[in-house]
């Protein structure tokens, strides 16, 4: 079973703080995606990382793919209440049609 473990599970912070969410696996993936989900809605794709060591920025969000393509991180600078939501990493195991999700990190940003 290929698992994607995220940490922390929950994060509750004040507006303006920085945070990092981690996504770890013992398996190698060809790519990894990050999604954000709000209550009652479907996940929305934020970014896809493909190359080991790759760094992508999306405004205040910085995504990194590990050199060995087994892990990834999401760093948010100066968090805002609008960043509140469930952050999910996801990856396609090799040679399958699956897309599996990580265990999720629930972020709450207070004004």
């Amino acid at each position: 079973t290929q698992l994607l473990e995220q940490s922390p599970q929950f994060l509750s912070i004040q507006e303006g703080e920085n945070l990092t969410v981690y996504c770890n696996s013992s398996s190698v993936f060809s790519s990894l995606q990050w999604y954000r989900q709000e209550p009652g809605e479907g996940p929305v794709l934020l970014v896809t990382v493909v190359t080991g060591g790759e760094v992508k920025k999306l405004k205040r969000l910085t995504f990194q793919f590990g050199d060995a393509r087994k892990d990834s991180s999401l760093h948010i600078t100066a968090a805002q209440p609008g960043d509140t939501g469930l952050y999910l990493c996801a990856a396609p195991p090799y040679n399958t049609d699956k897309l599996i999700f990580g265990t999720g990190t629930r972020l709450q940003v207070f004004p």
Partner: protein, 119 residues
């Protein structure tokens, strides 16, 4: 059009009822997915269709029956469900299909989900 549309948005059904969830996409995607999501948990994969053929069934009970009538539509037929089947059911699509497993076409687009309550 980058939307995946799911209907209905909410559904309440009895344990003896038969109902169907519907999903539609017009992005030309050849892979479509059903996920089940319980409260405060990540989505769990149920089924994958690739080029309109069922390619993955994650040991889902037979009371859930998927159907892919054409490349744009995906249905999930429900029969004799249990209260523990109450959850958010999500449909998704991606370009990924039998053309290969390129990492560049695994990005999934999700519908808003159907909130199912079994009473």
């Amino acid at each position: 059009d980058t939307e995946v549309t799911q209907t209905p948005k909410h559904l309440v059904m009895g344990m003896t009822n038969k109902k169907s969830l519907k999903c539609e996409q017009h992005m030309g995607h050849r892979a479509m997915y059903w996920y089940k999501q319980k409260a405060k948990k990540p989505p769990e994969l149920m089924f994958v269709y690739s080029y309109e053929k069922l390619s993955i069934n994650e040991s889902v009970p037979s009371r859930f029956s998927p159907e892919c009538p054409n490349s744009s539509l995906l249905n999930l037929h429900l029969h004799a469900l249990q209260p523990e089947d109450s959850a958010l059911y999500l449909c998704a699509s991606s370009q990924r299909g039998r053309t290969g497993f390129s990492s560049m076409n695994t990005e999934a687009f999700f519908g808003q989900g159907t909130r199912l309550t079994v009473v």
